[in-house]
């Protein structure tokens, strides 16, 4: 269902967590391409060796370190957080100034010059991705851009170019969906039969694969399979007709009230 709405050139990325070794080269590449400052890190910021605890204004992607019991022994299972670049982004639908929008190639991007700082996108995001630099005088929304500027000139996202184990694949979304399905079908023992992002909130441009259930590696699960903006569209598209009907009804009632008063006034019964 979701694949039917994809624009022809739309790109996507596979994050194959079964191939991730937790080297965090993607995080480094992301920082350098997006010019984010370094963080002071320490061991055990999150669970185990994860660093930092969560995405923030300086970190647009994050490898999560999850201790999961697989078989008989506990094991590191890595997950990755980054903007999912939804096919029907809730953040963009919530933005009152269209500062957040989805490009034809797939990235959901942020135009700083149009932002008023209402943070509706942060509140709207089902994946809790957009972050804010609250300390700044002119704060910005910070999140993964899918390296939209690189995509424009035919390059891959920075993270995809550096992964040493092929955990990050990039290409047309249709091909990526096929590829993700192929991997699950050819190695059913390695993967759980689920593509995170294929149907979540109407489909996303980042498709995650895993060896364990996604809720065990810090993913937000149980999300609806339908596009989030529909929840508000149902009401908002009624705005113009409701306005017209209410104005007419109130006008008619007011006219009746005034006529009644005028009559009462003439009869001297006005109270």
């Amino acid at each position: 269902m979701s694949t039917a709405t994809v624009k022809p050139k739309a790109k996507a990325m596979i994050q194959d967590n079964t191939r991730c070794i937790g080297c965090r080269a993607c995080m480094v590449a992301c920082k350098s391409w997006n010019d984010r400052p370094e963080d002071k890190t320490d061991f055990f910021a999150g669970e185990g060796y994860q660093n930092p605890r969560d995405l923030d204004a300086n970190n647009y992607t994050l490898i999560t370190f999850n201790e999961v019991v697989t078989g008989e022994k506990p094991d590191w299972v890595f997950g990755r957080q980054l903007c999912m670049h939804c096919e029907h982004p809730a953040c963009a639908s919530a933005c009152p100034t269209t500062a957040m929008f989805k490009t034809d190639l797939g990235p959901v991007v942020f135009d700083e010059s149009r932002c008023i700082g209402c943070r509706a996108c942060m509140q709207a995001c089902p994946f809790i991705i957009p972050k804010y630099d609250y300390e700044s005088f002119a704060p910005k929304i910070h999140k993964c851009t899918f390296c939209a500027d690189r995509l424009e000139v035919g390059l891959e996202p920075a993270c995809a170019t550096v992964c040493p184990t092929g955990a990050i694949s990039f290409g047309d979304r249709d091909d990526m969906v096929t590829e993700a399905k192929r991997r699950i079908a050819t190695a059913p023992g390695t993967y759980i039969p689920e593509i995170y992002g294929l149907e979540e909130v109407g489909g996303t441009s980042v498709l995650h694969l895993s060896s364990v259930p996604f809720e065990k590696i810090g993913y937000i699960t149980g999300l609806p399979k339908t596009a989030m903006p529909d929840l508000t569209h149902r009401w908002l598209r009624a705005t113009a007709p409701v306005f017209a009907v209410l104005y007419a009804v109130f006008g008619a009632l007011n006219w009746i009230v005034r006529r009644r008063m005028r009559r009462q006034g003439h009869e001297g019964e006005h109270t």
């Binding site: 639908s93 009152p96 100034t97 500062a99 008023i116 509140q123 630099d133 002119a138």
Partner: protein, 394 residues
């Protein structure tokens, strides 16, 4: 005309709170939102939006509910409540806009909302409607000072456009009061099942309508006390009976919505959500409803003040429950409003109260009270409301 008033200890207390709020406001603009506020990446809205914007707009519904009651439903005996109601609406919306300017990360860009086209955004609709309605409120209220200043030409124009403008105000209010709820329908995964509903727009609209008459009653009692006139207990009792209906209908609507979407079990869960829910329902709806159904309460100042105060507190808690308390993002993330966040909202609220107290003493807001040292109001406008009953006749 005389703009001066003698400051009472009440005025001085309000001025002190305003000064405190201004200090926090200065810090916010000098050192950024992060310097004084606890809002964070998981809870980007918090108390500023829950109280400063959502609750302020909800109780600002007093302007349109009283206008609709008198001008559209034709219950003309409440005509004298119109001027205070419109002034309160004007001040509530001004407070909300002021709050917005503090809360936005880039307030100097807020005008972009008015030159954008974002029909998918509930906030876009709220922004436009609130902006237009603030203009409507200003035009409606402008008649009062213009009358006092004797600017008859401007007054004449306002009188001519009053009815279409008034209708526009009531219509816009229906739209943006509900759109504030639409805003929250987008995040079913974050708002607790007790409060998230497909019908949040209607719940927001109806609860705002419930706040309107409650604030009108409370204001009349307060004004009677501080301006020294006898409250119109007959009118208040009637308004309280209407309020009882509205509270009862809202309670029925909220409960049937819960049962209809199968979330009633959550009412009995052992969680802080359920506690907050029952405080909202018990003290904000059931108790005031029981009080308002008693004739002796409807005829007593203290009883009315208690019942209406509870209704307003209930609306505040509803907004907080939907937008702050009922929100869970991830288990390790928390939000409690900071002193600075609360300080700024207190300052804004104190400013609104101060402005109301000042204007109520220098302008003919209340029919029962004539500002001193000024000539009596022209007899052509005896009804004392926005457009006197006789003004319609001519």
């Amino acid at each position: 005309m005389n703009w001066r008033i003698r400051l009472t200890w009440w005025d001085n207390s309000l001025l002190a709170i305003m000064a405190l709020g201004a200090v926090f406001g200065l810090v916010r603009f000098a050192a950024g939102i992060g310097s004084i506020a606890n809002i964070n990446n998981a809870y980007p809205w918090g108390w500023w939006v829950g109280y400063g914007i959502m609750t302020m707009i909800a109780i600002g519904a007093v302007g349109f509910t009283m206008t609709a009651l008198v001008e559209i439903l034709g219950v003309h005996r409440y005509h004298s409540f119109l001027r205070p109601a419109v002034l309160m609406g004007l001040l509530c919306y001004t407070s909300a806009i002021t709050m917005l300017m503090v809360e936005l990360g880039r307030p100097w860009k807020v005008w972009l909302v008015l030159v954008s086209w974002a029909p998918t955004s509930a906030l876009y609709e709220v922004g436009w409607c609130a902006f237009l309605y603030l203009t409507v409120l200003a035009l409606e209220f402008a008649q009062v000072p213009l009358e006092r200043l004797g600017w008859s030409r401007a007054l004449g124009i306002l009188r001519v456009i009053y009815i279409p403008i008034m209708l526009l105000g009531v219509t816009l209010s229906h739209l943006h009061q509900s759109s504030l709820g639409t805003l929250m329908t987008l995040i079913p995964h974050k708002v607790n099942v007790l409060w998230w509903s497909d019908n949040l727009p209607l719940l927001y609209l109806f609860s705002a309508m419930m706040a309107g008459p409650a604030l009108a009653i409370l204001e009349h009692l307060a004004a009677a006390r501080w301006l020294g006139f006898a409250p119109r207990m007959d009118l208040l009792a009637g308004l309280a009976r209407i309020e009882a209906w509205v509270v009862g209908l809202f309670l029925a609507f909220q409960m049937s919505d819960l049962f209809y979407r199968g979330a009633a079990d959550a009412m009995l869960s052992a969680s802080w959500f359920a506690v907050s829910f029952w405080v909202e329902i018990g003290f904000g709806l059931l108790l005031p409803l029981a009080l308002l159904l008693m004739p002796e309460v409807r005829e007593s100042r203290r009883g009315l003040a208690t019942a209406c105060g509870l209704v307003l507190a209930g609306v505040l808690l509803h907004r907080l429950n939907v937008a702050v308390i009922g929100l869970r993002v991830r288990h390790w993330e928390t939000y409690v409003p900071s002193i600075g966040e609360i300080g700024i909202t207190l300052g804004i609220t104190a400013a609104a109260l101060f402005a109301f107290g000042w204007l109520a003493r220098i302008l003919p807001i209340h029919e029962e009270f004539s500002p001193p040292q000024t000539s009596p109001r022209p007899s052509a406008q005896p009804a004392g409301a926005l457009q006197g009953a006789k003004g319609i006749l001519t």
